[in-house]
């Protein structure tokens, strides 16, 4: 499983982004997207295109964690969103690894079938099924942990809303949360 996480300010400025891979189930924490290294901008395309859906869901669902909001089948990319009350958006793109596998029972949802994506055989792994309740829960925990760090950044008197978060400590906090939950 590979992840691309980004934070967007209320005015759609990207203020933080990071790519990482899963550390669960023997993962080494390195992102391996299906695009070649020269096409990493695809992640940004896909994740930003989900903003329309996020903005629609934002006014029907009052929760902060909006769960899985969008899927981009050609790349088997799943996008989960978290909204802070002050309007910042946390978006997480997750892409399951491309493994040849005959186990179709796990990918029971039509989205999975259409995308032709394959799933790992171990159903307990978060990476196995991007829309399972376990994954939703793990992403929720991940988002909540980042939210805490984000609030701490936002409370700093030297931080203005919409500014890029450059702190290496923040980055390491995100990496640690990714290791812990995803």
């Amino acid at each position: 499983m590979s992840y691309y996480f980004t934070i967007l300010s209320p005015t759609d400025t990207p203020i933080f982004n990071i790519a990482f891979g899963t550390s669960k189930g023997g993962g080494d924490g390195i992102a391996r997207f299906r695009f070649p290294d020269t096409a990493q901008y695809m992640n940004q395309f896909i994740i930003h295109s989900s903003l329309d859906i996020v903005e629609e869901a934002q006014w029907t669902n009052g929760g902060m964690y909006l769960k899985h909001v969008d899927t981009y089948p050609p790349a088997a990319a799943y996008i989960s969103a978290f909204l802070t009350p002050s309007g910042a958006r946390f978006l997480l793109l997750h892409q399951p690894p491309q493994l040849p596998s005959g186990n179709a029972s796990l990918g029971s949802s039509s989205l999975l079938g259409a995308s032709g994506s394959t799933t790992r055989t171990s159903s307990s792994s978060v990476a196995a099924n991007p829309t399972s309740p376990q994954t939703e829960e793990a992403v929720r925990q991940f988002m909540n942990e980042i939210y805490e760090s984000y609030v701490k950044s936002a409370m700093s008197p030297f931080y203005k809303q919409g500014m890029e978060i450059r702190s290496p400590v923040f980055r390491s906090k995100v990496t640690a949360a990714g290791k812990k939950w995803l």
Partner: protein
Amino acid sequence: MAAPRHSAMLSISNASTPQSTSSDKTQVQQPQSPAGTSGLRVPSNRKTIYDRHLNRSRNAELSRASFAYLFGEMVSYAQRRVTGIQDLEKRLNEQGYPLGLRLLDLLFYRATSTSSSALSSSSTSSSPPNRPLRILTLLHLIHGPLWRLLFQRSADALEHSVSPDTPNEYMITDNEPLVNTYISVPREMSMLNCAAFVAGIIEGVCDGCGFEAKVSAHNQPTEMWPSRTVFLVRFGDSVMEREKVLERAGVK
């Protein structure tokens, strides 16, 4: 360049806290990566803002004297180079606005991190509070939780404009605003209300939640409450339009 600075840092941390050799070793290694790569300055006790707990000051109170002093300084700072009362109120408003944006996040963070939800008296479960989607929930959030966070009590009244011309106007009343307790406004500036600062905070909260609004503070003294202040919240057209759509959709 990096080496002497590093050693200086190490000596500071050594001097302030005597450590065992094992923890010393970790101290040597940790500052190196952030300080070396980006020039980040780490406090000598190695606690960055990310290591501090946001709930620690939850029930801590500030002395009124220091608050009054600070706020007095803010008012006199805002008073420099202003052209009139409106300009002064605008400046106070602008000082409050970023505070409102921050308080909003802090309010929700504290409500989610504690099981006993302090945010809303109506929600009894420990589930995280919802973002306000409708005007009324937003105003209740301001009237209750926000006011309690700021002043340790709820606001005194929440009213909707009765005039059919201005359905976008709401009023939040505070009988005795804390910010005005130690301020006596000169006669020639009788229109001034320094609670414009609080109005700015409210505006920040409304804007942060996606409710574009203009908020102003007005003196409305009564015999019993001489410093009674009304905060007039005027929502923008886009908010009123969305409100109608959400009402039809049955969103609460």
